[in-house]
Amino acid sequence: MKVEFEHLQAAHCENGVTVSMLRNIIGETRITEPLAFGIGSGLFFVYIPFLKVSGGPAIAYRTQPGLIFKRTCKALGIPVVRKKFSSPKEAEKALMESLNAGRPVGCQVGVYHLTYFPKEYRFHFNAHNIIVFGKEDDNYLISDPIMEDVTSLSSYELERVRFAKGALAPKGQLYYPQHTGIITDEQIRKGIITGIKRNVRDMIHIPGPIAGVAGIRFTAKKVKKWRDKLGLRKAGLYLAQLVRMQEEIGTGGGGFRFIYGAFLQQAHAFVPVDELLDISKSFTKAGDRWRDAAVQAAGIYKGRLTTQADFDQMGDYMLEIADIEKEAFKSLEKIKWPK
């Protein structure tokens, strides 16, 4: 049994699931990955002190899992169904009911037991997103937005990833947008403007030192101290984690900045404010700098760069990024939106 479905590849899983479900379930084709990311105010940075992830620093370059889908649907006036389950049996039943109704379903899954991923990528990360669009014999047909092609999981494998345990446990979570009336260009325009304003708030107006642009500066200062505080080997592992989180599967910190740059360009087609095109270039520059910083970090964790000056350089890259992103969001804040 197979639902009519067109697979779409994306740079990031949640963007991809959002766009793909809007297209396949509602027939909405104007919303691209960058538009979903921007309307969902996806760009973020946060460094959570005292929390360790796999023994290293806890850093995120994007907004909390689930919000991009939620906000994008809300902006477009699309009702969302989202369910969690305590029993795997109930979870599978609900999934089958949706498929039987001809509707593909988004699922939050853990990556550790995701058999089609290479072992090197399989950590206990529980906020990956996939779409299930059919079942043949014992195999569920899977559209994983970061993959070029569709794939499949046996019912046992799917149950295992839907009921992965630990931080952000998916609890069998499934979600989909419901059919709705016509989505107007005006709704998209408003969604874009609201999305930008909210992202301005998240990046430059959250009080305290750990979130948004301030968080980048905070991390930059920490990085400069890592060599003395942790020793070269551990500091290298911390930097590798920073890069892994930045360039995680699908995309990461650098990648998110490029998606935001693409968003501002595409937003211009709906909201013809020319500043958007200029500010887009700043995000391209920020993304490029994140990549430069990653190259610098790699020099350190591969043991080629070892001096304090190398750590200072790494921190300075991040301070420069903080400046670029702060300027960019300030410019976005100053835009006089057309009525």
Partner: protein, 135 residues
């Protein structure tokens, strides 16, 4: 990033799929293109796994020296920290800490051992002996 700069390095993910990336073309417009992988990211994963492998070896030696129970080895092997293992087994964290002691571990009931074995994806026998055969 310019379209012409998109990295095409060998990577673990590159073996199964290319990744979509947003890049700028010659006219300055954002377009998408596929990347096979990036050496900087691949090496970040490499050194992370080298570290995990080293810690797993160290854990095994510790168990063989009778300084910890096999749980320590399997927690490293399956990269499960205390909260994750607690979530998979349903045991309290402080209980697991106790079970990490070799003398306490030796007295565990078959039922408790089976819970750990399931969480680690091994048989109870493999759990006790640390002899795991995986493809």
């Amino acid at each position: 990033m310019k379209k012409s700069d998109i990295p095409q390095d060998p990577s673990a993910l590159g073996r199964i799929t290319k990744e979509l990336q947003y890049v700028v073309d010659e006219q300055g417009n954002y377009v998408t293109d596929l990347s096979n992988g990036w050496e900087v990211k691949a090496s970040a994963l490499d050194i992370t796994w080298q570290d995990i492998d080293n810690q797993t070896k160290e854990a095994k030696e510790k168990v063989l020296r009778n300084e910890a129970s096999p749980l320590l080895y399997f927690m490293q092997l399956r990269i499960m920290d205390l909260p994750t293992l607690a979530a998979y087994t349903g045991f309290w964290k402080w209980k697991i800490k106790r079970h990490l002691r070799p003398d306490v571990f030796r007295k565990l009931s078959e039922k408790k051992l089976a819970k750990y074995a399931e969480a680690f994806d091994v048989s109870v026998d493999e759990l006790k002996t640390m002899n795991v055969h995986e493809g």
